[in-house]
């Protein structure tokens, strides 16, 4: 389920978005979406690292991300991260 969000960007992020937008002839929304997705992937990777170190259980990672255990298994698999 996609969600539409309105937000205010920090100056530096706005400058980056404008530069990428001009460079790749992309829309502002597409550049911001790409940034958000990259940020999400980084959050998942960090939680995965904590899971692998035994700091968090798999279920705690799932809860942190608002996913079910089965959805997290799927997400890790898609991202090439071992369970």
């Amino acid at each position: 389920m996609a969600v539409r969000v309105e937000t205010v960007l920090d100056d530096r992020i706005a400058q980056y978005v404008n530069r990428v937008k001009a460079q790749h002839h992309a829309t502002e929304a597409a550049v911001v979406q790409e940034l958000v997705e990259a940020g999400y992937a980084e959050v998942v990777r960090q939680l995965h690292a904590r899971y692998q170190r035994g700091e968090l259980s798999f279920r705690a990672v799932a809860a942190e991300l608002g996913l079910s255990v089965r959805e997290l298994y799927d997400l890790f698999e898609k991202m090439g991260l071992p369970t």
Partner: protein, 189 residues
Amino acid sequence: MSEGQSRRAVEKPSAILYQWDAISLITCAKFQLEGRLILDYVLDVARIVITREVHQETVEAGFAGGYPDAVMIKERIDAGRIEVHTVTQMSARFEEVLDLYGLQEGDKAVVRLALTAADVTATVTDDRLLYIVLHRCGHQALFLPDFIERAVAENLCDATTGQQLLLAIRPRLQRGFVEHSLGRLEGVI
């Protein structure tokens, strides 16, 4: 596993009971060796019990998400090949300790079953934190590759099949785990 070995394991009414955690169960219900589910190789050599919570996580949530492995697990539960147990909370003091580890409800149910079911020999989990907690509680925890190694060591499964099973599950396991077990099965470690 050869035909003879499979039959021998099935005929053995006293096959050892292992508790299975959700992640390892999903892996076994998802991956195959020579067209046969890894889970069926496991059921050839062991009895499996899961908590009501693991059932919810793997079967109910799996069905809702349209994951085929949920169907595989449910079929084996319906056939009486996997038992589902309900567990109750333990002492308030112990539950507090489990909370301090940051364990979730499903994790805690796995620990409770491990510590209260006298017939559960060990718990198979690939969750490092849960493994540590179970170990600290004096319960035997096994990573999935360790379970396969044990089946080979107990002559319930031949070494070649054990190696093939390890290779089949390798994509879902952290680097080093499968290689370590393969080395031990080959007798080089």
